[in-house]
Amino acid sequence: MHTVCGMTALLETTNLTVSFGDRAGWFRPAREVLAVRSASIALQAGEVLAVVGESGSGKTTLARALLGLVPIAAGEIRYDGCDTATMTAPQALAMRRSVQMVFQDPFGSLDPRLPVGAIIAEPLDIHGIGSPASRRARVAELLGLVGLAADAAGRYPHQFSGGQRQRIAFARALAPSPRVIIADEPLSALDVSIQSQMLNMAAELRARLGLAYLIISHDLAAVHHIADRVATMYLGRIVEVADVDELFTRPAHPYTAALLAAVPRIGAGKWMPGAALGGDIPSPLAPPTGCAFHPRCPAASSLCATATPEMRAIRAGHDVACHHPLGTA
């Protein structure tokens, strides 16, 4: 199925696969980590999609692949319906401009040697947007938008707190008037009190600017608060996607259910499987056969160890990759 550029989701992946590996050396075979396996997600304009999953499940890699920061091994990424692999250079540039990223670490994502004004203006410089004077004005405007004083432009990152830095990173992402912001655990490095401030700011800006967010998070409470839809990732695969309320009240994948069980405030449902998530995430170098979750899954059958479950809809807008989804039997 080849889509021509046209109306579909704003940002979409089909069977996206990203592999890290070193080539075979003289004395050892090549090793390969499939950090993302055959993942399909779709982000609609103006929507907030959250991706959750344990550490090492491939969330960051998925985000980086969307930004073209890691090469993709198979599958495709479409922006506005256009395949990134066959885009013309102007189309690619327009995409880079419209899809912006906020990183997890507010200490690492700002160049310590540049004043904040230059950091925020960098996307404008790179894309050649506006004159130097208009860029300065834009920087001042953006600083106001994220709630920082205008004189911050002349100061350096190390003079700001973690929360302020994340606001700076946010202002940089907003600078070229993007349509999508991909945020990789934007809150996890911040204090709880600052997290809620940031969440409110993000929600307000979304309403004002009509942004779509792809948010990667460990924090299910925050996800519940801000997301429209949620995708669960396990060992490189997307295993469940549903609207936020549906997913939080009726998770169908045992892994999602186990994740929710770890959050007492929300996961008070009666359907919860008795066993909490035990064991460690298996090595991505040698993932289990069949459903990768089967060694830890309380609902696993003999089928699970041999056949990989495909994504299928169990309800409208609720897809799951599981042989025995919860709440359907």
């Binding site: 920061l69 994502s109 160049d111 040697r113 960098e122």
Partner: protein
């Protein structure tokens, strides 16, 4: 302004200013450069010459005019040392900056592009590193430039002799900086601020120039400083062996060549130029060491 609004460089300068040894060495160095490059005025002031021979006043003793006496050709030893210093010290500066430049370009390219480029450049660096430096320098210094198509007049000129030394010392001296810059680049390109720029579609050149090099400047500065010292030593050795700075130009090393023959009768003439080299190089090394600890990130608040 509060403590929080102090820039990285101000912090570093404060730490350096507390290091008395480094500060003392820096003063000595500034004084040395200042004196050497005022040689012409000092000659006028003392009414002596470090350039022209005066057979009537050979081996003059130390007095109010000849602060260090005069040499075998009647030239004033003190101002001659200053004139030699102009050459030795400026070669030190230029060749150190040159090596750092070459090393930075090679190291940043290797660290940024990695893979095959990195492998080739680093093997090349190893290759240069295993050269028996002095013999190769001597060969390079002795190369007959006319065989490379330069004109006789150019080859005989003082400027050619000077820049030839700068060039060859640069060519053999960039390896340390290249390794340092490569290591710094390798870790910097993994940092998120570089990813942020790449996600915008920033060019490699922009990333290197705006993000990588400014963040790698610390090891570059320290290495350049330390390199200055070894350049001065190398130049003096080459000139001492007669393949460096050629008469009528003079450097501290070439002054020692003459003084060696007069050792038995006028040992002091051999003491001064060597002491000048020792003073300059030791000051440079102390400054470099001070910079290193002042720039140490472990002392930074973050």
């Amino acid at each position: 302004m509060t403590e929080a609004s102090v820039s990285v460089w101000q912090l570093r300068w404060r730490r350096l200013a507390r290091d008395r040894v480094a500060l003392g060495a820096l003063s000595v160095l500034v004084l040395l450069y200042g004196l050497c490059f005022s040689a012409a005025w000092i000659e006028v002031w003392l009414d002596v010459t470090g350039v022209d021979t005066d057979l009537m006043s050979r081996f003059d003793p130390i007095d109010a005019r000849h602060w260090l006496g005069s040499d075998e050709a009647g030239r004033d030893e003190f101002t001659r040392i200053l004139r030699g210093g102009q050459i030795s010290l400026s070669i030190g500066l230029f060749a150190a900056i040159g090596s750092s430049f070459v090393g930075t370009v090679i190291g940043a390219t290797a660290g940024y592009f990695r893979g095959r480029v990195d492998m080739v450049l680093m093997r090349f660096t190893d290759f240069m590193l295993a050269m028996p430096a002095l013999p190769v320098l001597i060969i390079l210094a002795a190369i007959d430039l006319t065989k490379l198509g330069f004109s006789q007049d150019f080859v005989r000129s003082g400027a050619a002799g000077y820049w030839r030394i700068v060039l060859i010392v640069t060519l053999l001296g960039w390896t340390t900086v290249a390794r340092l810059v490569r290591a710094a680049t390798l870790s910097l390109v993994e940092r998120e601020f570089v990813l942020a720029a790449r996600a915008q579609g920033a060019s490699s050149l922009r990333i290197l120039w705006v993000h990588v090099l400014p963040n790698a400047v610390t090891p570059i500065i320290v290495a350049t400083t330390l390199r200055m010292g070894s350049v001065i030593l190398t130049e003096s050795a080459l000139s001492f062996l007669g393949v460096g700075i050629q008469p009528p130009s003079t450097s501290w090393g070439s002054m020692l060549t003459n003084a060696q023959e007069l050792m038995a009768s006028n040992p002091l003439l051999a003491v001064y130029p060597g002491a000048a080299i020792l003073m300059a190089v030791i000051a440079i090394n102390f400054v470099g060491d001070g910079l290193q600890s002042a720039f140490d990130p472990r002392a930074d608040p973050h």
